[in-house]
Symmetry: C2
Subunit: 385 residues, 2 copies
Amino acid sequence: MNLPLGYRYAATYAGIRKVENDDLALIVSAMPAAAAAVFTRNQVRAAPVVLAERHLKAGKGQAGAILVNAGNANCATRTGMEVAQETCRAAAQHLRLPVTQVLPASTGVIGVEMDARKITRALPRLAASLSESAFDAVAAAIMTTDLVPKTAFAETGGVRIAGMTKGSGMIQPNMATTLGFVMTDALLDATVLAGILSRQNELSFSRLSVDGDTSTNDTLILLANGASGQKPKPKVFEEAVGDVLQSLAQQIARDGEGAKKFVTIEVAGAKTDADAVRIARAIANSALVKTAIAGADPNWGRVLSAAGNSGVAFDPAKADIDMQGLPVCRNGLAAKFSEKALSKKLAAAECLIRFTLQGKGKGTARFWTCDLTHGYIEINASYRT
Amino acid sequence: MNLPLGYRYAATYAGIRKVENDDLALIVSAMPAAAAAVFTRNQVRAAPVVLAERHLKAGKGQAGAILVNAGNANCATRTGMEVAQETCRAAAQHLRLPVTQVLPASTGVIGVEMDARKITRALPRLAASLSESAFDAVAAAIMTTDLVPKTAFAETGGVRIAGMTKGSGMIQPNMATTLGFVMTDALLDATVLAGILSRQNELSFSRLSVDGDTSTNDTLILLANGASGQKPKPKVFEEAVGDVLQSLAQQIARDGEGAKKFVTIEVAGAKTDADAVRIARAIANSALVKTAIAGADPNWGRVLSAAGNSGVAFDPAKADIDMQGLPVCRNGLAAKFSEKALSKKLAAAECLIRFTLQGKGKGTARFWTCDLTHGYIEINASYRT
């Protein structure tokens, strides 16, 4: 897959996390890029989230670099804003950019002071090692409890799109995911870019939940530097961006903490898409549905009950549920199915739950999550220790 | 503890559940009792919930008996309403009551047809064995995944109150818990009783979550048969009812599926009590907070982040958090504390998290939950199989 033109990448170990894996990275555009971003809706927002938003505004939708670290969220920290500002300033100097063109992002533990010097000391070697081919190294450096790096690519009408994301727990992005960066060499202005990101985020990261917890650091950035010289057809280009974002969001669900199964929830027949999303989210966030999936138990009653708790009004007698393509509930009642055969199908690594309301409703949604297993408990009972 | 006068109880094994533990029970008042009830807010409501509400209305707030079974929720069943009606009719005949004075309640698996004959066949021996002392037998018969029966008692001004409840998973009662029955021999009219139940339910069962899933069968019934001949002082009596309900709700959290720790969340300084409850509920339902507690990890950042997701607007810089009485966060930042010492304290069987917003807000809430452990996964990955 060809990477977008005009971007360079670098990653290094700056000593922010204990394990000696890269934890600091730079993404740099050769020319100012149009930039759009969406951020967490959590009331508690990390310093880099606040600063990135401020820079984006001050830079009038133009950005030249993303400075990102893992191992420390720089959230609920006394020196958080200073550290974010100081490290952005240092990066801007090394890259000869206005400071507002550096967008910061952090992920990791909350409430631990971050040492700016670890970053400023690493910056010279980081800047010196920038290369067009280190895309994967950055995707690896932003991982926390992730087991695998997550990237997605597209190419359409002479422009290239390359995205990366991270995330495994504290995942119910309400705007974006914990961290996601998408670069393209298409020529687009920032307003158009913001519209594309907003719409496509709604259909990707906003349709994802691992554990129902929205993080304090969610940041999704889309950069378009125009290096290809091509103005793509808006519709086709937006679709390609959507494909990349959906692939990234799905990869997070697949790598959800402790996840053994990737679960897709499809809802149809709701009054509106928003209603369909609410139902899908309620099903995805039900601990009882997620543990039933882990146990390959076709317990559709839990799916119906979870939908009933979504806050969306519907008539249970008009609810149909399918699992792995088999009807398990019709008109709110048990359909005839072989429990043994379905249980076998549910043992697969991918599960599909369809919830359909009979009638004229046109609202639909696709939503992604994972099962809830011992692995999740294992990881989260001892995250910091 | 003295039981309220004028009630008789019976329990038997009717073959509804596989394990040969009692699964059918009767609570009968010697005289028509004023009755009040609150039911689940889930859109999906089991037949006995619908019928109990209908009977209560038709009986103008008077009831003579509660007919309850475990092992089958009689929810999302083709024959659900018929079964509920037929079994209530049979009970009414045996007890010589108008059918509207029999309140049905069911708990167990959803979506499996219930065989009315199992209940009607057991009713003669059940009615024949009614006794004033079988209160505990009924409390045991309504258990599902519960490890222990849950009862609470009070006595005030010459009247007695005795309550029982069941519940361990699918617990986030939004009105009531899965099943709760409280009997008193106080002399009260149904309207007064309804007010007491509504207010005290708000402060007890509505402040409880094990896994964030509201069941389809939640039913909490309060009976007052006047057998004591005493009209208690309203305020004192309501307090006693509140004590019983709070004790029952707390017992459910203590016995939450897989729970090793009982967790109390106290919120203060919110604008309103309702805001405080929302913040407390968000903390209680965070899988990340619950696993941190399981791991005795003083990860207050997760508490702050969960509060930030509650939908209640607040300034994180004015948030204080205490765990086990020790300050862990002040002004939204880490307080100085010994992680080792606190981790030791968090290994206790009871945990207290206090979340306080500085300022003039008078809104407070107490909320109960439990930790999230391997046991929860174990139980719920194989509930039906």
